[in-house]
């Protein structure tokens, strides 16, 4: 199993990092949370970050945390699907499609929230769960899943997710629908 430093993976898949941070910012904007600072990409660890004010509403916390999962996943499918048809489905060599697959998978790889995002969500869920917020109760297993995926990044779980979304899921869906 090839193990690469995280920053090298981030450099190679930099569009995903940018979209990930942009998704956080977009969620903050939609919910009126002041963004104090943002770094969309840098050569370091973390490769990107967003600094925002404290959030007191759990639904807002939830949206800010899972925003990248929604936006990155949707963009991954949108970009990779036509390219998958050409390269994988029809076995036709096409450079433009290879570019689109790289874009799609790169973006899909960074769909999962980071450990910091998960920790923030956990803290907010602890408070909201006392008021029996159903979303807060759902968040607990979600946070565990996020932490698990972040640990499994060592064995390329994020890459497999990106490939699954961009290349495997479209094939499964198309074969079932046709």
């Amino acid at each position: 199993m090839l193990i690469l430093p995280g920053f090298i993976v981030s450099v190679v898949t930099f569009p995903g990092v940018i979209i990930h941070e942009a998704a956080h910012v977009l969620a903050c904007k939609l919910r009126g949370v002041v963004v104090k600072g943002v770094c969309y990409f840098r050569f370091g660890n973390p490769a990107g970050y967003v600094v925002h004010e404290s959030i007191h509403d759990f639904n807002t916390s939830f949206l800010v945390c899972v925003g990248p999962f929604i936006l990155n996943s949707l963009l991954c499918i949108l970009l990779a699907f036509p390219a998958f048809v050409v390269v994988e489905g029809l076995n036709v060599k096409d450079e433009f499609s290879y570019l689109m697959i790289w874009l799609g998978v790169s973006i899909g790889m960074h769909a999962f929230p980071s450990k910091q995002d998960a920790n923030e969500l956990w803290g907010a869920a602890n408070i909201a769960a006392k008021r029996l917020n159903p979303l807060a109760l759902v968040s607990y297993p979600l946070v565990i899943l996020i932490h698990a995926v972040n640990i499994l990044r060592v064995i390329w779980a994020d890459l497999f997710y990106g490939i699954f979304l961009g290349l495997v899921l479209p094939q499964i869906l198309l074969e079932r629908l046709m």
Binding site: A22, V35, L78, L79, M100, L103
Partner: protein
């Protein structure tokens, strides 16, 4: 029971009864009073500290921000290059769907063709796959599958010349594929029968039988080939071989035996061969060769 101190009245209350507002834990009555007080106290923009109209509060209970700072924030947190990147991604996505539209249609046609093939609808599968080749002429896979499906249809309809040509085209790319090799042998055997080349016909069916000795149809075809040889040469050994394979076909599947028995009996007793007797619709299982 856990208790907490109210930030306002400094009294102890159960944690469950406390309300967290702006980072402060307040009891029920104090939280209501605090809300009223906050409605009337001056609110300042959390960025530029400019006073906002009374009662202003940010969305979802967060800090307030004036419209000017909100617009500036939007510009600063979404710089031009980020917006440009989004625009480029969306443009690429649109272009990808527009330029690859024929690939999408061709791929969908090929999936429908494969489904028809699995359902045993050979002619429909062949037509759909040929339609797919029109959309994607550069795809070798699609072109070869179209050849395979059409070849199977021709073989079943008694056109072995076309079937052999199409199967050989497929076999050039997949020489190790046992499925296509068997189909080609069948087509060549049928073609040999049409050309009255019974030696080639027998050789092809014997090769097939060696590969699959438990197949009753193939056993019956070997029997038929020996019967043709007997009809032409009159040699008893061919008649004996024909009877031997007839018994073998019966042992493997009595239904196949029943279908062939009259044909073989007629051929062995009269030593006559009718062209239409040999080629009948072959039972294709509709599975992909590869």
């Amino acid at each position: 029971m856990k208790q907490s101190v109210c930030w306002r009245c400094l009294k102890l209350f159960p944690v469950e009864e406390m309300v967290v507002t702006a980072g402060r834990s307040l009891c029920g009555p104090c939280s209501k009073a605090d809300a009223v007080a906050r409605e009337s106290e001056p609110v300042c923009c959390s960025v530029c500290q400019k006073q906002l109209p009374p009662g202003s509060k940010g969305q979802s209970g967060n800090a307030s921000i004036c419209d000017s700072c909100k617009a500036t924030q939007w510009e600063r947190t979404f710089p031009l290059w980020v917006k440009g990147m989004f625009a480029v991604l969306l443009t690429l996505a649109v272009l990808s769907y527009v330029f690859n539209y024929r690939f999408l249609v061709g791929y969908i046609e090929s999936l429908r063709a494969n489904r028809a093939w699995r359902d045993g609808k050979t002619e429909v599968a062949a037509s759909l796959m040929e339609s797919a080749t029109k959309y994607v002429p550069e795809s070798t896979d699609i072109d070869l599958k179209a050849s395979l499906y059409r070849g199977v249809q021709f073989l079943g309809e008694g056109h072995p010349v076309e079937a052999v040509r199409l199967f050989r085209k497929y076999q050039e790319h997949y020489p190790e594929d046992q499925g296509i090799n068997s189909l080609l042998l069948k087509a060549e055997a049928n073609l040999a029968f049409q050309q009255k080349d019974y030696d080639t016909m027998l050789a092809r069916y014997q090769t097939l039988f060696e590969r699959d000795p438990s197949n009753p149809n193939i056993a019956a075809q070997v029997c038929s080939a020996f019967a043709c040889k007997y009809a032409v040469t009159g040699e008893e050994r061919f008649k004996q071989e024909a009877n031997k394979y007839l018994e073998r076909a019966k042992a493997l599947d009595p239904k196949v035996f029943a279908a062939f028995e009259k044909l073989i009996y007629y051929r062995l007793t009269t030593r006559k061969i009718f062209p239409s007797e040999e080629v009948g619709p072959l039972q294709m299982e509709g599975k992909e060769s590869r």
